[in-house]
């Protein structure tokens, strides 16, 4: 009886192994996970290739990619030269979509306008009250409350923080000198909330607070969003179109390996705080079949896949950029 059962089990395992189609594995950033999982399920329906992705964070993704555990990694911050060397040197960065970081606040009024320097002043803890003259001069039409500002930042290390602090460092020399930029920094002021939900919750529940979250969280939680002054002098609220415009404006400056940023770009409608998310792959694939599948998926994502971005609050790549990225994807061997 037992032996029969065992035989059936082994038989079933072999059967399922035989009928199993090609599987690709990836791991990395949580930020693009919603669109990636949409892509993977659409792609499987279309082409029958199964792609698994573990949203364990960019750091974990790069670690597993370097160790050769996964076919591709997902990351919100490009790999450093040292990491690329460690991974064998043939690493390609494939930007897939872009995201915007929204500045949300809860102070009893709407329509706040900020420029980069003032935003940095608030997050440095130097601007302590909502009716500070520096904020008032940018918002002459709003009667600002005489309330303390509570800064809320991410406590977990994240790509969102990387984009936000890189923006502050770019527009404020004081920020660059005192804090710097990275996925996790030594915050001079405020409290930390875990993840986008943690920051959203803290902002919602504390009067006088200001924080930064991914665009999707600002949109779905209906928190007031600050309009940020862009390089062309316009105040722009975060949006998918404003983000695509940023990449279009920066296209000439994006390096050939796509490890570039699109912060604080020119253009009337450009939103200044946004960035890429990347998939990292080896140019020289060891497994032919997997390499071909990976290449096909990436091209699909950069063409047909882009239409799913907007409904999930990601910005699609501008067509001109997507064309260049596809050339790079085609170099995978």
């Amino acid at each position: 009886m037992l032996k029969k059962l065992l035989a059936v089990c082994i038989g079933l395992t072999l059967l399922s192994g035989a009928s199993l189609a090609l599987t690709l594995n990836g791991a990395g950033a949580t930020f693009p996970y919603p669109i990636y999982s949409k892509w993977f399920s659409m792609y499987q329906q279309a082409k029958g290739v199964q792609i698994n992705y573990a949203p364990i964070g960019s750091g974990g993704g790069i670690r597993q990619f370097m160790a050769g555990v996964v076919n591709f990694g997902g990351t919100d911050a490009p790999m450093t030269d040292a990491e690329i060397d460690k991974a064998g040197g043939d690493v390609l960065h494939i930007p897939t979509v872009m995201g915007a970081v929204a500045v949300v606040y809860n102070a009893g009024f709407e329509g706040l306008k900020l420029d980069g320097k003032t935003l940095a002043g608030i997050f440095l803890g130097e601007i302590k009250k909502w009716n500070d003259p520096k904020i008032a001069s940018l918002n002459p039409d709003i009667s600002l409350p005489d309330k303390n500002i509570l800064v809320v930042h991410r406590s977990d290390s994240s790509g969102t923080t990387d984009i936000f602090t890189n923006y502050l460092a770019k527009v404020s020399s004081a920020w660059a000198a005192k804090v710097g930029a990275g996925k996790s920094v030594a915050w001079p002021a405020g409290v930390g909330g875990k993840g986008n939900p943690g920051v959203t919750g803290a902002v919602k529940n504390n009067g006088g607070s200001i924080g930064y979250v991914e665009l999707a969280y600002a949109e779905t939680n209906k928190l007031p969003v600050a309009a940020i002054k862009n390089r062309s002098g316009n105040y722009v609220t975060p949006s998918v179109d404003g983000t695509t415009a940023a990449a279009a404006g920066a296209i000439a400056k994006i390096p050939a390996d796509f490890r570039g940023e699109i912060l604080d770009q020119k253009g009337a409608a450009t939103y200044p705080i946004c960035g890429f998310t990347w998939i990292v792959v080896h140019q020289n694939q060891t497994n032919q079949e997997a390499g071909i599948a990976l290449k096909d998926f990436l091209i699909w994502a950069l063409t047909d896949g882009q239409v799913y971005a907007k409904e999930l609050y990601y910005a699609p790549l501008p067509k001109s950029l997507a064309g260049k990225v596809i050339e790079t994807v085609n170099s995978i061997k």
Partner: protein
């Protein structure tokens, strides 16, 4: 009669038992090996520094150690009287049917996932105490309350009824009975329940992270934001790319393990001492 089956049985259970020390040793040695880079970079000073600047690769664990210890002690200060009082009521005082419902609810409290406690903390404790050490302590107190209550109640109920009856026969009031006849023999078990609670408080991660404010700063003000060892691992480990940052995270884990072992050891000592004193002659 010695039979072959017993030898096999003995061998198999020995194997299972041996897996525990093996696992502990495995975890411990992994933590030590992977934290070498951080230990070499900062030495023992890591325990006493309070800088935390991932951009400039400067790390120190003191604010996290402080936060873990203070928030756990706060939790104990609140939860021990409450939990013990509740256990005494359920075991010694109440005769009503009502107590069965309370006992069930205590068990239910223990079954709530910690992330749910954290969410509740953000929306209920947050507006009252802010995102602060006190919020963390109060939330932890609520989380360890069921552990302390349920285990103490079991321990109290295990005290032989004859002890109570003798005390009552000597004319003791209900309070005197509990104080003189029930609590002393149960003391070591009650301490055990407190240690279980403390263990949970020290290691609790998700709920604390959500309400403690995550600010690596030592402040005497309980209403100021703080940070804990487990919270910083949860927050930064996933994105720790540089080797040093990764190693620092592992060393934080090693410190957390040491604190847990230390607390458990101290508690074990206390239980032994108490058990020695109160042995019923």
């Amino acid at each position: 009669m010695h039979c072959k089956g017993d030898t096999v049985f003995r061998f198999i259970t020995l194997l299972f038992a041996a897996s525990i020390p093996l696992l502990f040793f495995g975890v411990f040695s992994m933590l030590v090996i992977k934290s070498q880079l951080s230990i070499q970079a900062f030495g023992l000073g890591f325990l006493f520094r309070s800088v935390w600047d991932p951009v400039r690769n400067q790390y120190g664990a003191l604010p996290f150690i402080y936060g873990t210890i203070v928030s756990s002690l706060l939790a104990l200060i609140i939860a021990v009287p409450l939990g013990l009082g509740c256990a005494i009521y359920l075991s010694e005082v109440s005769q009503s049917k009502f107590k069965a419902y309370i006992a069930t609810m205590v068990d239910l409290l223990a079954a709530i996932p910690s992330v749910v406690y954290g969410l509740w903390g953000i929306f209920v404790l947050g507006p009252i105490f802010g995102l602060s050490m006190l919020s963390g302590g109060v939330l932890l107190a609520i989380m360890i309350l069921p552990t302390i209550t349920a285990v103490s109640r079991e321990v109290l109920q295990a005290v032989p009824g004859s002890l109570r009856e003798s005390a009552r026969a000597l004319g003791a009031t209900q309070w005197e009975t509990v104080k003189l006849a029930v609590l002393p023999p149960a003391a070591s078990g009650i301490i055990g329940s407190i240690v279980l609670g403390l263990g949970r408080a020290i290691g609790e991660t998700m709920a604390v992270t959500m309400v403690i404010g995550n600010r690596p700063e030592i402040s005497a003000n309980l209403l100021a934001p703080a940070y804990s060892l487990s919270a910083v691992i949860a927050n930064e480990f996933a994105e720790a790319v540089s080797d040093l940052n990764f190693s620092v995270m592992v060393e934080i884990g090693l410190i957390l393990l040491f604190i847990t072992v230390l607390v458990n050891g101290l508690a074990r000592l206390m239980v032994w001492k108490m058990a020695g004193q109160n042995r019923i002659q």
